[in-house]
Amino acid sequence: MSALEIRNIQKRYGDVETLKGIDIALESGEFLVLLGSSGCGKSTLLNIIAGLAEPSGGDILIGERSILSAHPKDRDIAMVFQSYALYPDMSVARNIGFGLEMRKVPAAEREKAVRDTARLLQIENLLDRKPSQLSGGQRQRVAIGRALVRNPRVFLFDEPLSNLDAKLRMEMRTELKRLHQMLKTTVVYVTHDQIEAMTLATRIAVMRDGRIEQLGTPAEIYDRPATLYVAGFVGSPPMNILDAEIVGHQVRIARSDEVLPLPRDFKRTTVSSGPVKVGIRPEALRLADFGASGARLIADVEVMELTGPELVTTATIGGQRITACLPPRTALATGSTQAFSFDEAALHLFDPESGRSLRAA
């Protein structure tokens, strides 16, 4: 039984189509991340699930029951907002217990639930404070507590970590993962941060222009991107995309003599000749000897940036930039010509017109 089912949801504002038919079915306990840049419709979709916006078409089911006609409070959901949206005049305890208070849960029971939730989030000592007396991370915990205490069927998160600084964001990310592992709740989480998506999700829906580009596990999204957009969006630094041409059973990089073997997964595709986009992740590239066999590229090293854990190297092949993430102590010289090797399986081919992957299904 699916916990949440989104069926062909559409949203139009006048002539502008924000959502062009979204279909997702979530099993109970799944952590779905809606990933995309701003304006892709991910927050609109979340608001439609929450009942804060009305879809122009389609249906949403929670536990096999359509909820579109139900008031937000009757949908068995809880939402954590980007701005936290805490009630400024109320204490932390009342903030957390407000949902129960409105649902006329007896005071004693309510107090116990608030206390249990606060213990889970390690904010027991803050219960008497006002939101204005809390730090950003603490406010975030209260906002999560307010959602947790009601024990809803589906949790909705709208970019909950984007107002925190980098260090705190990592901490809270781990905290969210810990909570999800412990409570096994169903979550829909909106973010534009691909690291958050990769680390938290059991499944990611990469969205673009009101459509789902790809829906899959983090590993599928990373290893087998369905489109150029997904390939470029997930991963940091992003995947190298090179213009190339298929000639027979080989791929020739544009404006160079570099030739790569056509990878196995792509051999059965219909394209036998013509232009193509080649994708390869920076972290798949290794330094190699010129004489080494197997798949390799020869490029001129332009810039090297040591980030600490890795040496981000930018090189050019036939005027096209390519980035490689190498071990930090790699001996390399700017201006030198180097061979980079990689596994054949790390190679991706995309149709330059549609942007779709040419991988055989």
């Binding site: 937000p72 809880a78 949206a85 009630y87 949902g99 409105m102 307010r146």
Partner: protein, 281 residues
């Protein structure tokens, strides 16, 4: 700025003092006039400082003897309090739901601009229709009639102020409360209105002042002690055959006291309302 040159800080203080002097001079002169003997006020050259402190005019205006100037003044004071109070209360009651609705539903904000259009008309253009309307309902020369007229002036103004106040309160708080199961009346009562309290206080104070100072409609629509307001009563003092400037000044000082008192009481709310609501006084 951490460090300032001495010259600069002297300049800043001098500027502040000059501004204070410009603002306070008329008020101080009003007070000096009210306690100066009549001879001082008509002397040439004018004596800027009273030769003798004379408080008889305060006694005159605050005496409750029937048919005296004092009785008329006190009746006008009470009328002013009633008219301004009722109009302000009604304006807030009308403006809170209207401002909230416009703030949360931008699609209907055109209605606010339509209301502003009525503001563009000079009051004199509305005087005749209003007069006929009030006459028809038998509300001429009554405090209720005048309060009703003032409501039409105050309501658009308070709605605008309150709208900017509501705009500053994040909608997400209301969304969160809605998901938490709060009804609309609970959301407004427990969350939105307490957060808007400073702006509401600011709007109420400005509305009260506007009604308190109004003269034109009050002059047209009231004729005797039953409804005449302070502004009209003060004008009457100047209209006699012999004008006692000191008496007019005294009435001015007394008329300024209620708003000043209200302002002092609401000072804290006023300041936070002025700063947080995006309201410029």
């Amino acid at each position: 700025m951490e460090r300032q040159s001495r010259l600069f800080s002297i300049f800043v203080h001098a500027s502040a003092l000059l501004l204070a002097a410009v603002i306070l001079a008329p008020v101080v002169w009003l007070f000096v006039m009210s306690i100066s003997p009549a001879a001082d006020l008509s002397a040439k050259p004018l004596s800027w400082w009273p030769s003798d402190i004379e408080l008889s005019r305060y006694r005159t205006l605050l005496s409750a003897i029937e048919n005296s100037a004092g009785a008329a003044f006190i009746a006008a004071l009470i009328n002013s309090l009633m008219v301004a109070g009722m109009a302000t209360l009604a304006a807030i009651v009308v403006a809170v739901p209207a401002a909230w609705a416009v703030s949360r539903t931008p699609a209907v904000s055109w209605s606010l601009y339509a209301v502003i259009a009525t503001y563009m008309l000079p009051p004199v253009a509305l005087a005749v229709p209003l007069y006929m309307g009030l006459a028809y309902f038998g509300l001429l020369n009554t405090v209720f009639g005048l309060a009703l007229v003032y409501l039409t002036i105050l309501a658009p103004f308070t709605t605008w102020l309150l709208k900017s106040g509501f705009d500053a309160i994040p909608r997400e708080i209301e969304s969160a409360a809605m998901i938490d199961g709060a009804r609309l009346d609970q959301i407004l009562r427990l969350l939105t209105l307490p957060l808007a309290a400073p702006v509401m206080a600011t709007s109420a104070l400005f509305a009260f002042l506007l009604a308190w100072d109004e003269f034109f409609y009050a002059l047209l629509f009231t004729s005797d002690l039953r409804a005449k307001t302070l502004t009209v009563a003060i004008a009457d003092l100047a209209g006699g055959r012999v004008s006692d400037y000191g008496l007019i000044a005294t009435a001015g000082v007394l008329a300024a006291l209620p708003p000043v008192l209200i302002g002092l009481i609401m000072q804290r709310a006023l300041i936070s309302g002025l700063t947080s609501g995006g309201v410029k006084g």
